[in-house]
């Protein structure tokens, strides 16, 4: 066991865990941030997507010992007031079905919109291909990202 002090959603959090423990389980079991989900454990479903210094990363494939001082952002920290354009668009278009994958979808999409504020369908497909949705809400996710791009362009909170 080793101590790690993390920067999670702008807060300093210290945990005492084995060095190989994936960030996913540190968030969920030790920091009670359960919005980041476990789906496959091999980095192929994207349910555990978080941001490290703003870049999407798979929480299940990120040993805690490699996180260091990078800023960790989870779905709980994307927007304190649920006003990120993606969050607003998701509610407006009723994107979620079961909702289990949606935190990962939103975190991946948030990074896409930061890179490409006006993504094409192809941009979206390429960015989102790593995120599974078992309920198959893909058409609404696509529409939701386009809608969020509009909301962002119209001065929505980012």
């Amino acid at each position: 066991m080793s101590q790690y002090t993390l920067n999670v959603n702008g807060q300093s959090r210290t945990v005492d865990v084995a060095p190989e423990t994936p960030l996913l389980w540190v968030l969920r079991d030790h920091l009670d941030l359960v919005g980041t989900k476990f789906g496959c454990g091999i980095g192929m479903c994207g349910a555990c997507t978080v941001h490290l210094n703003g870049t999407p990363a798979r929480g299940c494939q990120t040993p805690i010992s490699t996180v260091g001082t990078q800023r960790v952002t989870t779905i709980e920290g994307l927007s304190a007031t649920a006003t990120h354009p993606l969050q607003k668009a998701w509610m407006e278009l009723d994107v979620p079905q079961c909702g289990y994958c949606q935190a990962g979808q939103i975190m991946t999409a948030a990074a896409l919109l930061r890179e490409k504020p006006k993504p094409t369908d192809t941009d979206i497909d390429n960015a989102m291909v790593g995120n599974l949705c078992r309920c198959a809400t893909y058409t609404r996710i696509r529409a939701g990202i386009h809608r969020a791009a509009e909301l962002g362009a119209n001065g929505g909170a980012r």
Binding site: M1, V17, A18, E20, T21, W25, R28, D29, L33, V34, G35, T36, K37, F38, G39, C40, G41, I42, M44, C45, A47, I75, E76, S79, A82, Q87, W90, M91, E92, L93, D94, V95, P96, Q97, C98, G99, Y100, C101, Q102, A103, I106, D121, D125, N126, M128, V129, G130, N131, L132, C133, R134, C135, A136, T137, Y138, T139, R140, R142, A143, R147
Partner: protein, 778 residues
Amino acid sequence: MSTLNQKPDVRGQTSEAGAPAGGLDRRSFLKFSTLAGGGLLLGFYAKDAFAADAAVGQPTAATMGDFAPNAFIRIAPSGAVTIIAHKPEMGQGIRTALPMIVAEELDVDWAAVTIEAGMFDTPKYGSQSAGGSTATPQNYDPMRRMGATARAMLVEAAAQTWGVPVSECTTAAGSVLHAASGRKAGYGTLVAKAATLPVPAANTLVLKDPKDFKIVGQRISGYQNADVVTGKAIFGVDQKIPGMLYAVFEKCPVFGGKVVSANLDKIKTLAGVKQAFVIDGTANLTGLMPGVAILADSTWAAFSARKQLEVKWDEGPRATDSTAAFDKRAVEIGSKMEGGTTVRTVGDTAAALAGAAKVVEAAYSYPFISHTNLEPQNTTAYVQGDRVEVWSPTQNPQAGAGLITSALGIPAANIKLHITRSGGGFGRRLSGDYMVEAAAISQKAGVPVKLTWSREDDLQHDHFRPGGHHFIKGGLDASGKLIAWAHHNVTYGTMGAGRGGGAPTLSPGSGGGLDGNQFPANAVPNFQVMQTIMECSIPMGPWRAPGNCAFAFVTQGFVDELAVAAGKDPVQFRLDLLDAYPAPAAPAAAPAAGGRGGGGGGGGFNVARARGVLQLAAEKAGWGKKFPKGQGAGIAFHFSHMGYVAYVAEVTVSRTGVLKVDRVVAAADVGRQIVNLSGADNQIEGSIIDGLGTAMYQELVLDKGRMVKGNFAEYPMIRMPQAPAKIEIHYLKSDNNPTGLGEPAIPPIAPAIGNAIFAATGKRLRAFPWSKTDLSWT
């Protein structure tokens, strides 16, 4: 037409799943006690409520006098309205849809409603299972009456208070109005009075005219969406209770195998591990199977320790079973139109085939697949003596509770069960295996535990959708009319297994049954369907529209082949078959044992409704368009779970064989009223993509008695780039009671796309997964 940019209502008020009434003063609520006012609870609710009285005893005077919440509605003096959602939410939107119905008849603003998930409580709510697309048809009228009853009492309270006739009072947006005097009273101000009034008889209730609906029929965003998009929605796997240990459970990879020994002494020395032990389990393939439990102080510690677990298994008699051997045997059996159990036979099929102008013959097949809920199976349980509290992502709490009683000896009345939000259901969570596992581990460990399955567990120990083979011969006369249909289905079954157990006879797995009455049965004068069951030990369970996905793929594909052979347009050929049905349509025969039947909850095949969706889909899609080579359109329809759905799919297949679904036009008839347009569209959109993904990619392979696909690397799922570019949805609002959409929208999509691929390439896809077929063309 449905578009995705219409704005649904957005609301954010939610109540945590399973939470009690929070800080609200129970005495301040309007009371419609289910026990005191049985008249409020109609039909099956009342029956269950009275049955439960005997079991749990009559309510005491204290509880009778208390403002205990009623089954479905609470109104506080502040006017705050809470509606209880009693059915499990797994993405099908039922915790939004049913409260919408209550709120409509109660006549309150949707934005003012807080929805609270109901605990498992059969006496209070009746069945809390969500399966078979039954929640809407079984609850539509009762939920209307729940709302109307409360509204009637509030109106009565206002009328008495004001000394005016009830007939002069109206309601709107949570208030009673008296137009003549200009008086208005919010519901909250009337609760004290209303609570003293008798519950009106059901036959005195006046329901709204649907043309006055303000909530039902609108596009309403899911009730917990604000929590979902902020990571606050709590699923089963997110539960945490004080003192809880994190458990994993390893079962024999060969179904039915038992534990001989395990290196438990070593496991107990590993970091974070607190306990490790064997659970003997039972012989029920879909119940508590034997295995080894490891309990640790974190999920990761338990997962890590498990990598060092070594178990010696008694694999039992099925350790040599394989898909390859089953497939070989199926072809040997099914290629002969004899030897099977007759499901249905009409006329003289052999003679008709012998005399046919043209005979078409084909073999269709599909593999075992998994439900693959993205939230792996899990349950949190705390057994204390002969009591247990359970938090579980279940779509069928009764199943888990039943297993806990039968396998662990905990009385039904001592099971307290929180029905958490589920990360997908698809039928998997109708089974209670993971619930009884968690309870068994807690019982033995003496501490609260959260059991979490790995993805590998999930693919290895699903209650799988059975694979199957269909061998069909169709005979056409000289005019192209279908005169004979001979069909041998080879499926899988187990001895006395299945949900709830059963007599020790060989019966098909759930979804392996065959309904001999499905289209085009009654349109063909010589019709013979037989079935052979191959015995296995694979646990099988209902998978979204059990059996119907396979059956629609086979029949709607083969009907397409017949249309081509007859030189007829695929739509016209189907319409001709529907016209050949006797009028009125013959009543549905009882489905074969284990079969879901076409009705899936009642109701026979209605030719007019089938014709209606077929024609609507064709019309809206502009059926008959000419496409260049490599592009094409296909059509299919199917009836299941009381719903009729037809699709036209338009596809492009590149010369190198890459499939792109360009457009899907849906026509659905689920009765006269869509409850939530957004939710209904969601079910159809999801079904289209799920159905495509299943047909294209999914396949489990059995070898040496075990499923060999480990994780998503070996078991690919459909992803965003493969989703259709455009989906258009049309509802045919026939004058029938509203029915569900969780299932009937999935069966016809695979054949519609498959038929489109044939139109585009000339390649007929007769076996799932299609990804194994080269679609390239020149």
